[in-house]
Amino acid sequence: MLGLNKKDTSLLVIVAALVMFAPFILNPFPSDSGLAQFNAGYPDLMQRFVIFGIFAIGFNILFGLTGYLSFGHAAFLGVGSYSAVWMFKLLSMNVIPAIALAIVVSGLFAVLIGFVSLRRSGIYFSILTLAFAQMSFNLAYSVLTPITNGETGLQLTLNDPRILGESATADGSIPVTSLFGLEMRSTYEMVVGPWAFQFNAGYYLCGIIMLLAFYLSIRIFRSPFGMMLRAIKSNQTRLNYTGLNPRPYALAAFVISGMYAGLAGGLMASMDPLAGAERMQWTASGEVVLMTILGGTGTLIGPVLGAGFIKYFENIFSKINDTVLHNWFSFMPDGLEDFVVFLIHPFIGKGWHLTLGILFMLVVTFLPGGLVEGGQRISRMVKKKSDDDTNAKTTPAE
């Protein structure tokens, strides 16, 4: 189907189902229960899951296939966001032109950075991309203030022209982003007993775009072009002496992944129309590297899993505070309760990075293939066990 083999088609169908039913899947706990804080089924977080999924899918096309580790991909994310916000300021609040401009501008930006950075490989390439991203960050933060509005960040105002739209709504407020009239923030809430499931227009737009991006990445992985990219990672010498020029292949991969990042940035701005320089900071570039490695470098689904995993931790673990902990451990004697809370305290709230760091170390050490390898191991164990069971059942009959 759609030019994919059976295995890839079923993967795509599974991912599509997960994306479409995410408001249910991520909301397993009733809203009045104590576990409700582990629910992730609210629009803001779900949007972040799929947007960072797109970012990581794109990053994986470069890093997973060619092995070129870019440490500056957040620059494209930021460029995409700024472009989209400018489109909202100048043209209209429709998200389509904004996203289109975000992809185009970040693509052009990637051509420029890629052309220079890809003259080197390995660690030098990583450092060059990091340097470019930091330059972009500093430009956005101070030098290019007229375009980026410096440290305040670029925001919509009532004085923006918006040629095809309106500068202000009838009641004098700033208009909201929409897709041909369908407001991105509009949410339908379905209440089933103690559960409240939220269906957000913006989330579904991001989700559908992510599915398209995911489908495209499968096609790239399985294409002759994808094979050439894996050949670059495997042996550049042989590629050169087979009459193939590695550089345009690597540059094409770099630009494609830059455009994915730009798309993610554009979507971010479409959900919440502001853009700040901190989106381009090196920590943001590092985050997408973590997502890809955590999920499984070079696998199709890995980056999406990694992105979801990290964003879930960032938003859920960081919300647990000492009061919540005291509630959980209130059954313990007073002294012991305080002691346990004291022990766990560094790993929650603002300390969620510590938990993430430990998890990252464990995954990289014991599952070098990332979460995908973990899944494969479990399925192999289950398979083996069911084989053993059937064997055990048949043996006595003999």
Binding site: G226, N235, R238, N240, Y241, G243, L244, P248
Partner: protein, 251 residues
């Protein structure tokens, strides 16, 4: 006029004159061996032919066109394929994929953006790669990871990949280095078979005299960066200058 004409080529690394005025002519459809003791400049010469090194002086003409100043992939597209001393293959790719890449390079040139094309639609490439694997007796290994094969098989695959590009000149850099006797003989047989079945010129650098004398029609002896003699294998065997170069002055 040979297919490969090397004229007055010199290459210096700092204080070392690696090559000094090398003249060499390889005639079309012959097997030409370049031999010489360690440090004679054989590999340097080869690297000058494929674009890895640029000689300081002289010219290298392939089929009437200069190769100097061109990058390795451009020279390869002109029709020169190179087999390395240690097999250079795409270790993380399957044997079949290894064979398909040179087929793409032959058909599409040094770059083509076929990013969302389906591999199933590339029937001509798949057929050609399969036929080539058949020729190399590797059809049963097509799904194997190429890095998990034996050294002899890797060498065989590498030669097959070079042939898939239908080169006019095949350069072999010590193709049997580090091989067991049986593997060496297999390689000799393979090269003989290639020679019989195809219109191809082969230039071979080799240490193993058994390989050299069983394959080549012309031999150039290189010593200290300059060619000593060029002759048929029969005449080379008893040549006093060659003995001197290999065994030292006293011999």
């Amino acid at each position: 006029m040979g297919i490969l004409e090397v004229k007055d080529v010199g290459k210096r690394f700092g204080g070392l004159q690696a090559l000094g005025d090398v003249n060499l002519s390889v005639a079309e459809n012959t097997v030409h061996a370049i031999i010489g003791p360690n440090g004679a400049g054989k590999s340097t010469l080869l690297n000058c032919l494929v674009g890895k090194l640029i000689p300081d002086t002289g010219s290298v003409m392939f089929d009437g066109q200069s190769v100097l100043g061109r990058t390795p992939f451009e020279i390869n597209q002109m029709g020169i394929s190179r087999v390395f001393q240690t097999p250079e293959i795409f270790g993380e790719l399957s044997v079949m994929e290894n064979m398909m890449i040179p087929c793409f390079a032959k058909r599409d040139g040094s770059f083509r953006m076929h990013a969302i094309e389906n591999m199933h639609n590339e029937k001509d490439i798949v057929e050609k790669a399969e036929a080539m694997l058949e020729d190399m007796n590797m059809a049963d290994k097509r799904h194997m990871h190429s890095s998990s094969m034996s050294r002899g098989d890797k060498r065989r695959l590498e030669i097959g990949m070079c042939l898939a590009q239908e080169p006019r000149l095949l350069l072999l850099d010590e193709p049997t280095a580090g091989m067991a006797r049986a593997d060496t003989n297999n390689t000799i047989d393979l090269l003989k078979q290639i020679k019989e079945e195809r219109d191809i010129t082969i230039a071979i650098i080799e240490h193993d005299m058994h390989v050299v004398f069983s394959l080549s029609e012309r031999i150039t002896v290189l010593a200290q960066g300059t060619p000593l003699v060029e002759d048929t294998p029969e005449n080379i065997k008893g040549h006093p200058k060659v003995r001197e170069a290999y065994l030292g002055e006293s011999a």
